[in-house]
């Protein structure tokens, strides 16, 4: 069908034939991504609700439990993700102008930041697993035996785990964009995938901006 294949360059690319113009297709894809992000907001909202319930019911527990987290690593990750959002934005604007080398360079920088985020996350998780600072029934940390603390860790692991999964998926998509960019598929007339991946990536970043203070800086 009319979707692109690897050999088509961005100048020759046709839009899918049920759209009247390429612009209409671009607008549709962008709207689709926005709606998808609304879905994502509601998905995370469930966990934020669970968090809010715990916070209201057991404020002291939350205060005590958050000290099990390493706010320095969290802050480092915040900086890394904000940087990656910036490079992603630069990649999008490069794609709009069709500057192939710049697209690829900025996408690689975004990918490296995302990888760095996951590495920091790995060290955080590894430490907690080693100390048995684990969710719910698995919690066996002797230093803090306050009631309901394991629930805080359940929320922490589920929220950061699902967020981490989003980062991993984003990394896969960014790598796919790099491959397509090096085949010269993006340019002023067609940069939809870069644009909507950008939207997704900013969303993932934004979720972390909320997660970091809520989980690491309870006060």
């Amino acid at each position: 069908m009319a979707h692109s294949t690897g050999s088509v360059t961005h100048l020759e690319r046709h839009h899918a034939h049920h759209f009247k113009t390429a612009h209409e297709e671009f607008e549709a894809c962008k709207q689709g991504m926005w709606i998808f992000l609304v879905t994502e907001v509601l998905f995370f909202a469930g966990m934020f609700m669970a968090y809010a319930v715990l916070r209201v019911l057991y404020p002291d527990m939350m205060k005590a439990a958050h000290q099990l987290l390493d706010w320095k690593k969290g802050a480092l990750n915040t900086v890394i993700l904000i940087t990656s959002s910036l490079t992603m934005a630069l990649a999008v604007s490069a794609a709009q102008r069709g500057e192939k080398q710049k697209i690829i360079r900025y996408l690689w920088m975004t990918l490296i930041c995302a990888g760095g985020f996951m590495v920091v996350k790995y060290f955080e998780y590894a430490h907690k697993i080693h100390e048995h600072i684990l969710p719910g029934a698995l919690y066996q940390y002797k230093e803090l035996t306050m009631a309901k603390v394991p629930l805080f860790l359940s929320v922490y692991f589920v929220m950061t785990g699902i967020h981490g999964l989003h980062v991993l998926i984003g990394m896969g998509v960014i790598y796919w964009l790099i491959r397509r960019a090096s085949r010269n598929e993006f340019g002023p007339s067609y940069f939809t995938p870069v644009e909507i991946t950008g939207l997704y990536w900013h969303f993932v970043d934004l979720v972390w901006i909320y997660l970091f203070p809520l989980l690491y800086l309870v006060s």
Binding site: V56, L57, Y58, P59, D60, M61, M146, A147, K148
Partner: protein, 358 residues
Amino acid sequence: MTKLLLCLITLGNNAFAATLPVAGTDIAKSWDAVYWFLVYLSLVFFVGIVAAMVWFAIRYRKEKNRKPKYIHGHTGLEVIWTVIPTILLFVCFGWGWAVYQDMIHAPANAMEVHVIGKQWSWQFVYKNGTSVTNDLYVPVNRPVKLIMSSEDVLHAFFIPNFRVKSDVVPGMYTSVWFEAKLPGIHQVYCTEYCGTVHSGMLARLIVLTDDQWKDWLSGKKIDVDSLPADPTFPGYRANRLGEGMPEAVAGSTGGQKQLTLADKGKAVVTAKACIACHSVDGSKMVGPSYKGLYGREEKVVANGKTITVKADDNYIRESIENPLAKVVEGYPPSMPPYKGQLSEEEILSVIEYIKSLK
């Protein structure tokens, strides 16, 4: 002819009325009034809608009316059928809410019985320590409040004849109350799905006359089979799972000699050394005294803020299981949590003991 008509109306009325259980309390009667109001209101709308539909289908079918009229709407009509139902609905809401207020707020002098739901039986624990499985004995014409919790999964306690129902939830207390007007046996069901024997998790509510109640309290055996059967289904016996014989909690069987629930609570607070920090005479120790605590409005620190809570069953339960959630103002947050260390029955006996220290 008139006689026949009257007869038919009476018959119809009785048949109609037979679609609800008997009203075993005064509140059930006011509940019925709301219900029948809703039934008749619904009938008016239903008959109107269906009659219009059938009439149009006959009157305006193609053969009778070849040329349809070109109409898009009628603002007046649309306003009417938006506004009138809205008003009626809020009448329903208001009336329903008023009755609900009576249904949930038990009078202060209500006799309390504890209910523990478990897969798959009902345990009823009285203040004097008596514990009965699947048979709930209560006196007629006295308000009774059931304070309920579950040992495992969700259950629900349902007495159709009294129109009361509540989920029975592990980890918290819920309650229903009633003032039985009809002596005899009433059916109790579990109405929250709880596994294999859910449909067998039945109990009998046995409403005793004053004399019978005195007998039962003094440990005499009541001949349940001679009591009036469930008046909703006169031809049938009420059912319960298993044997429903009273069994004493503390092992002794002689009605008055057994430990009361409050006594049992006293034993628990002694054994668990609660009294090391909580006095029973009103004197201030590490924690607040039990004396006069129950039902008092307490200033507590929660979420860093000072709020006022009533020291009721759920508060005391929370303070046993998770004491730091709401610490009474002026006391240190130093009590360890007792979650999982006390059985359902031990917790409610402690609450009962605190209640007894007026």
